[in-house]
Symmetry: C2
Subunit: 139 residues, 2 copies
Amino acid sequence: MDSRHTSREKLTDTLRAHGINPTHQRIEIAHALFSRQEHLSADQIMAIVNERHCETSKATVYNTLNLFVAKALIREVIVDPTRVFYDPNTEPHYHLYDVQSGRLTDVSSADVRISGLPDLPEGMVAEGMDVIIRVRPAI
Amino acid sequence: MDSRHTSREKLTDTLRAHGINPTHQRIEIAHALFSRQEHLSADQIMAIVNERHCETSKATVYNTLNLFVAKALIREVIVDPTRVFYDPNTEPHYHLYDVQSGRLTDVSSADVRISGLPDLPEGMVAEGMDVIIRVRPAI
DNA sequence: AGCCGGGCTGGACTGTGTCTAATGCAGCCC
DNA sequence: GGGCTGCATTAGACACAGTCCAGCCCGGCT
C-alpha cells in the first residue's frame, strides 16, 4: 500500500500501454519524470536515478529518453541551446521559460486561442506547435 | 556603384547604429546573414565567410554572433537541439520548421492572433515569444 | 545445454560552443 | 617617435551534451 510502490506499478502499465518493455531502469527513469511533474534534462534525470548507487549508465538514460519520446510517452522541449528538457506532460500546452534561472513552467493551452495561421506548404503535415514565452525578472 | 559595395556600406551604418564597432570580420559576418535572408548556423556562417581564404576564426564568429544577439541586431532561433540558428529578421514573426530536412522558414506574424495568454508571474517581464510549427512531409 | 535477441554498460568518440593567453592594431598623450 | 591603453582577433585547448560501438548479461526457447 506504499504509494511509491503503487506508482511504480502504474508506471509499468503505462510503459506497456505504450509498447515499451518495462525494465527496472526504464521504470526508474519514468518514475523520476512522472513523480515530480517537472521538466528535467537528461543530466538531472541521471542524477536522480543514481542518487543512491550508480546503477544506470548514461547510454541507457539517453536511449530510454529517446525511446520514450519516440513512443510519445513524453515530449522534448527545446528552449535551451545547451540541453534538451523532457516533459512528462503530453497534453497540448505551452511553456514559460525564465531566461535568467532556466526554470520552465507549463501554460495550459485551454484558454489560448491562436488564429490566422497560414496554410502549410503543399505536402506537409503539422507535427505540433511549440509556443515558448521567454520571461525574465523585471529590473 | 557595385551593389555589394553599397550593401557593405549600409551594413557599416547598421552596425554603428546598433553600437557595434564595424570591423572587417563583423561586416563580413553581417553580410553573410543579411545578403541571403536565411537562417544560418554558426558553422554555415563560418563556411560562407571563409569561402575564399580562411581569414576569420571560429572564436570570432561565435563572439560576433553573440554580440549581434546582445545588441539586438539578429535573433537566435532555438529549434534544433544540436545547434543554434541565427535570424537576421528581428521583426516579430514565427517559424516553420521542417523536422525532416531541418529547413527553417519564416511565418509572418501579421495575420496571427493569439489571445487568452495567462498573466505573467509577479515581477516578470516578457522578453519575447517563440512560436515554432514543426512540420514534416506527408507520407 | 546451447542459442538468440533485447537490454545494459563503459568508454571512446563527435560536434557545438567557450575559454585562455598571446598577438595585432588603433588612438592617444607626452 | 615612443610608450601606453584598450579593443579585436586568433589558434588551440577545453567543456559538455549526446551518440556510437563492441561486449556482456540474462531470460526465453528448443
